[in-house]
């Protein structure tokens, strides 16, 4: 009569009549990006999840093989839309490693600043979505409006709101415009004051706490062995950050803490992002303080004839979602031989769902996705 106390998958195996399917995505308000799960449901809970990926597959890795080295620069930011700069930095980093280039100090610092700004835009969007997934649209509206201030800074610096194409092999494309630095200082103060507001309406909201607590728990061991990186890893209590462990750009010259949380659930992940806001603000401030004078790039000649010597290299950066890696193989031509991209959301989006979704209530799926910051384009590529 009452199957309350039986395991969900057990019921699903026993009686097929009790199972029904719900399509969660791609055209679903809870889904950000073009991606979907088909979930077998029992009652209000999920018994099994099937993945529908590839809706955003554009064959990046193939197109890059047919493009010039510099042409690819305009392509790579489109791999992850909300957080484009890590792509550029990793791609350029890999090329620079093959060539053995050491980019100017000023370029390193500027790269750091743009990377951190990009992280901030991405986090603002991700946390806004957490608000949206729980119906707290006000948070989303406010955070996205604040994110626009950062996008304006990007536009001033690079000419593009979303896709900046600013990092190039050998440095960055152009120097900071006049007054930009002071404006950014001001913006950091603004965000610091804003954090209090976010705390009030999102991070300390009792209902948000209730909703997030215990959703999608990952332990430290699991995170390590399942290839989960970035904030999701740190939320399980592992004090690890590529910025420290495998420094790139100017991170080895800056001082910052790695925030961690213990529980590894959605609440921990959200709180971790909250802590990362502060870290990011402090990093940007330090980088602006220490910004040295000098060139911003090494002139590498005509981009149409630009060649990278034979060799291969793997460069990775810590993006807002985790480890972004580019493995580039060059045979010395004007086009890359092979570019392989390691997207951070892949283990979470395509693999972790089979572990977490069974047994989860349909209510929590959107929240689970948003706190893990699953970004469909970076595993579809």
């Amino acid at each position: 009569m009452i199957d309350l106390f039986t395991d969900i998958t057990e019921i699903a195996n026993k009686d097929g009549n009790k199972v029904y399917d719900i399509f969660f995505g791609p055209n679903h308000p809870g889904m950000h990006g073009n991606f979907g799960y088909v979930v077998d449901m029992i009652g209000h809970s999920i018994a099994k999840a099937r993945v529908n990926a590839g809706l955003l597959h554009r064959g990046f890795e193939k197109i890059m093989e047919t493009n010039l080295w510099h042409q690819n620069l305009s392509l790579i930011p489109r791999i992850c839309v909300v957080d484009p700069d890590p792509n550029e930095a990793a791609y350029c980093g890999a090329i620079e490693k093959i060539m053995g280039l050491e980019i100017p100090e000023r370029a390193k610092f500027i790269r750091t600043i743009t990377l951190e700004m990009s992280r901030m835009t991405s986090h603002l969007m991700g946390m806004g979505s957490v608000g949206g997934a729980t119906g707290l649209y006000t948070v989303m509206y406010l955070m996205l409006a604040d994110r626009d201030r950062l996008l304006d800074m990007f536009e001033w610096l690079t000419g593009g709101r979303i896709y900046h194409i600013y990092n190039i092999p050998g440095g960055v494309r152009r120097d900071l415009p006049k007054g930009w630095r002071d404006k950014l200082y001001g913006l950091m103060d603004f965000f610091e004051s804003k954090l209090k507001e976010y705390d009030e309406i999102l991070y300390r909201h009792p209902i948000i706490h209730k909703r997030l607590k215990g959703v999608g728990v990952i332990t430290a061991d699991q995170a390590k062995k399942w290839g989960i990186t970035g904030p999701n890893l740190r939320a399980t209590g592992v004090k690890f950050d590529t910025r420290k462990a495998y420094p790139y750009a100017a991170y080895d010259q800056l001082e910052f803490d790695i925030p961690t949380e213990k529980e590894g659930d959605a609440l921990a992940r959200a709180n971790l992002v909250r802590a990362e806001f502060e870290v990011t603000i402090s990093i940007i401030r330090q980088a602006l303080d220490k910004l040295p004078e000098g060139d911003v790039n090494i002139k590498l000649g005509n981009p149409l004839k630009f060649k990278v010597p034979e060799g291969e290299a793997y460069a990775k950066v810590e993006s807002s979602k985790g480890e972004y890696g580019y493995y580039i193989v060059s045979t010395g031509g004007i086009k890359p031989y092979r570019v392989s991209v390691r997207g951070p959301s892949l283990p979470a989006g395509l693999f972790l769902c089979h572990k977490h979704l069974p047994g989860m209530r349909i209510d929590d799926v959107a929240l689970w996705m948003n706190t893990l910051q699953i970004c469909a384009p970076d595993f579809d590529r």
Binding site: N34, G59, L144, A145
Partner: protein
């Protein structure tokens, strides 16, 4: 010639249609479907800075409720299938806005093996927005233009779809249900 057609169309629009079109243009509901990366510029347009709701435009959850299908960027083949299904589920009148360069000619992905090049061959598009990605102002301008077209009774993409249904279906089938390879002999060597 073109002017004449336009003249005819204007004359045919009755007073009742004019009124209805007024209400339609004042209340445009978008379908909340992020087909491509262009979707990242939609939240800013909807949120506090640009505030799309001023014009009665808002996102809707399901195709049954939506008026406008905003194809935000490139459409991969898998997505195209879903797009067509979604488009056919929308009640009339329905409009399509092609968003970004990718919908016009494939844009930056013109040589990709998995992204279609011309969206208009598969579903009828009323307005294209150029650029990659288009700025929020461009989206607002496109919606303004769509409103004017609705008022004038020109935005009839759904009629075009009904009239040329076979042609559209043929094109869709070419992509989605192709049998056999396009490079005939290459098959045997590798498989």
């Amino acid at each position: 010639m073109l002017n004449e057609i336009e003249q005819n169309r204007k004359e045919r629009q009755s007073a009742w249609e004019y009124v209805i079109n007024y209400f339609r243009k004042r209340s445009i509901w978008l379908l909340h479907y992020c087909t491509g990366c262009g979707a990242v510029e939609l939240p800013p347009v909807m949120t506090s800075r640009w505030d799309l709701e001023r014009f009665g435009v808002g996102p809707m959850a399901t195709p049954r409720q939506a008026d406008v299908f905003l194809v935000t960027g490139y459409a991969s083949i898998k997505t195209l299938k879903r797009m067509i299904r979604t488009y056919e589920q929308m009640p009339k009148p329905r409009w399509v806005i092609g968003f970004g360069a990718c919908t016009i000619n494939g844009g930056i992905y013109y040589k990709s093996y998995n992204v279609i090049n011309k969206l208009d061959r598969y579903i009828p598009v009323d307005i294209f927005i150029s650029g990659c990605m288009p700025r929020p102002e461009a989206i607002l301008a496109a919606l303004e233009e769509l409103r004017n077209m609705i008022q004038r009774g020109e935005a009839k993409g759904y009629d075009r779809y009904v009239k040329n249904y076979d042609w559209y279906k043929k094109n869709q089938k070419e992509i989605l249900e192709r049998e056999g390879s396009l490079f005939g002999e290459a098959d045997d060597e590798n498989k």
